[in-house]
């Protein structure tokens, strides 16, 4: 942190609770933020207008911030972070407390932003992470436990794929059939409600698709498959696996990176910023 002011200039930060002055109007607040970020005077008002248009708060610009709803406040905070178009935008749980429509809007805004900026997003909502992030870092107990793209993380986790089936027929025949298929790691056969319908769970090795083989094998054994469902490991399971390995996780934080052209550099910047703010 030898040049804190230069470093802070290329970071836009939206904390969990947007840092808003309730006694100002939206326009006043954004002008103040622009002033604070030392945006040249001639560009200031046009940039404020642009940013307000981006987060769709132009029609609220003369309202006092204390009279805005949570969603609008969040958007004003986001506008403040975007202002000045910094290289790195850090968002701490940007969609918490918003309704589904607002969440979709914020997400699409983030998707737009990541075309031009590096967006570092911290979130506990994993569906959101898998929807918008290009690169995921999982931090447990202050330690980085995984960092990869969401797809690669899936491969990383053990016991990756499984098939869940309902098969009609003889239990022993099913057992024999499954044993003869390559790539099957283990399987369980449970009784289902129907008299000769079995609930079969098959765990397979990674990156092997055995669905066709299973189909033909069962057909050969004269055991019709009533239902087959292929289950991939979701980010949730990876997350649980990675963090529970660390014994009783008190606080798990997902740090997610998007649009990482220079991964290492971004990581450094991310850490730098944490030093700076917290």
């Amino acid at each position: 942190m030898e040049e804190p002011e230069a470093a802070k200039k290329c970071i836009g930060y939206l904390p969990e609770q947007p840092p808003l002055y309730f006694d100002m109007t939206v326009l006043e607040y954004l002008k103040f933020a622009a002033d604070l970020k030392k945006i040249p005077k001639d560009k200031r008002s046009s940039m404020v207008d642009e940013v307000m248009e981006m987060v769709k708060i132009t029609e609220m610009k003369n309202r006092l911030i204390k009279n805005l709803s949570k969603g609008y406040r969040q958007r004003v905070g986001l506008a403040q972070a975007i202002l000045g178009y910094p290289e790195v935008i850090i968002l701490d749980e940007p969609t918490v407390g918003l309704d589904p429509k607002q969440i979709i809007e914020i997400r699409s805004l983030i998707m737009d932003l990541k075309k031009k900026h590096t967006v570092i997003l911290s979130s506990h909502i994993l569906s959101e992470v898998s929807a918008i992030c290009d690169y995921v870092l999982i931090i447990s107990h202050g330690k980085l436990v995984a960092s990869d793209t969401p797809d690669n993380l899936g491969k990383l986790a053990a016991g990756s794929n499984s098939l869940i089936m309902q098969v009609k027929g003889d239990k022993e025949q099913i057992q024999l059939g499954l044993e003869s298929i390559e790539g099957v790691k283990e399987f369980y056969i449970d009784v289902d409600e129907g008299s000769d319908v079995w609930k079969v769970t098959v765990n397979t090795e990674e990156n092997v698709d055995i669905r066709e083989q299973v189909f033909y094998k069962m057909a050969e054994k004269n055991c019709p498959i009533l239902e087959m469902q292929s289950k991939k490991v979701s980010l949730e399971e990876i997350f649980l696996e990675l963090t529970e390995g660390e014994r009783v996780p008190m606080e798990e934080e997902k740090e997610l990176l998007e649009e990482s052209n220079l991964k290492e550099e971004i990581l450094e910047q991310g850490e730098e910023n944490h030093d700076g703010n917290l």
Partner: protein
């Protein structure tokens, strides 16, 4: 810094608080002015000013309680700390905004001696010296208020604490007269203070050897000085307490002396308080 200064000034001028302060100073000045100058026809404006120094006890806490405490509570300090502005710039911007608010009633007070000129012989230079001293006294009090607002998150605590400290400084003459001026009692008081300091040191660093060493060395030096040069301690407590006696430094100004010592004293109080405020904010960032 200018951005923060402008925002802060605007927020005082769009809320009650700034006007409340101005109202309070002006109404007290008006009451004393009409009593001393207009009714009693006393020609010295400095007399009015020196009798209304207690205005700061209530006015300053009102003005400074929210300046940093509120930022922290609303989490807006995160915006300021992540913006490309130094901590010193933040504090200075806020402090200057407070000084500007305070300068408004002072500017009005500057007209009072001119009114008096209409009715007779008035020494304008001594009146304006007193106004300068009064202004500096207020600025020093504001700096203390800013510092106290930076150490707490609650506006109420900040206000009460500022009041208590300003009140203690205000009553400093009375407080220092409680203590005996004899060298033995001064020496004992300092000895107890060193003991307390060593205890605080122990609580902070949890090291028995270092804090015990500090205690023994401190008491040793104190005892040695007492044995060889006991008159050194005479009135020592009063001398130390005098450092905190803000209003006594104003007294010279009210006796129509342009006291350079006093000016330097007030400026150093301001500088120290701003420095401490910056340090307390920086410290919180690393904790």
């Amino acid at each position: 810094m200018t951005a923060i200064y402008k925002r802060e000034l605007k927020s005082y001028m769009t809320s009650m608080i700034g006007y409340l302060f101005i109202f309070f100073v002006l109404i007290l000045a008006g009451i004393y002015f009409s009593a001393y100058q207009l009714s009693a026809a006393y020609p010295k404006f400095e007399y009015t000013l020196s009798s209304m120094t207690f205005v700061f006890l209530i006015g300053i806490p009102i003005l400074t309680m929210r300046v940093l405490a509120e930022e922290r509570k609303q989490k807006t300090d995160q915006l300021l700390l992540t913006a490309p502005v130094s901590v010193g710039g933040i504090v200075l911007g806020k402090y200057l905004a407070l000084v500007t608010v305070y300068a408004i009633p002072m500017a009005v007070l500057c007209f009072y001696p001119l009114i008096m000129v209409k009715f007779g012989e008035v020494s304008l230079s001594s009146a304006y010296t007193a106004i300068l001293g009064f202004f500096l006294l207020g600025c020093a009090n504001l700096a203390i208020g800013v510092f106290i607002s930076s150490i707490t998150e609650s506006q109420v605590i900040a206000a009460v604490l500022t009041f208590v400290i300003l009140f203690a400084f205000f009553m400093m003459n009375g407080i220092s007269s409680f203590f005996s001026e004899s060298s033995l009692s001064t020496c004992i008081t300092f000895g107890l203070l060193i003991l307390a300091m060593a205890l605080v040191l122990y609580i902070m660093i949890k090291n028995v050897i270092i804090s015990a060493a500090v205690c023994v060395i401190g008491e040793g030096i104190l005892a040695a000085v007492y044995v060889f040069h006991s008159s050194f301690f005479e009135g020592g407590i009063q001398k130390v307490l005098e450092i905190f006696n803000l209003s006594s430094h104003f007294e010279n100004f009210s006796k129509s002396i342009l006291d350079i010592n006093g000016i330097i004293y007030f400026l150093s109080v301001i500088a120290i308080c701003i420095f401490l405020t910056v340090q307390s904010i920086t410290k919180r960032r690393w904790n």
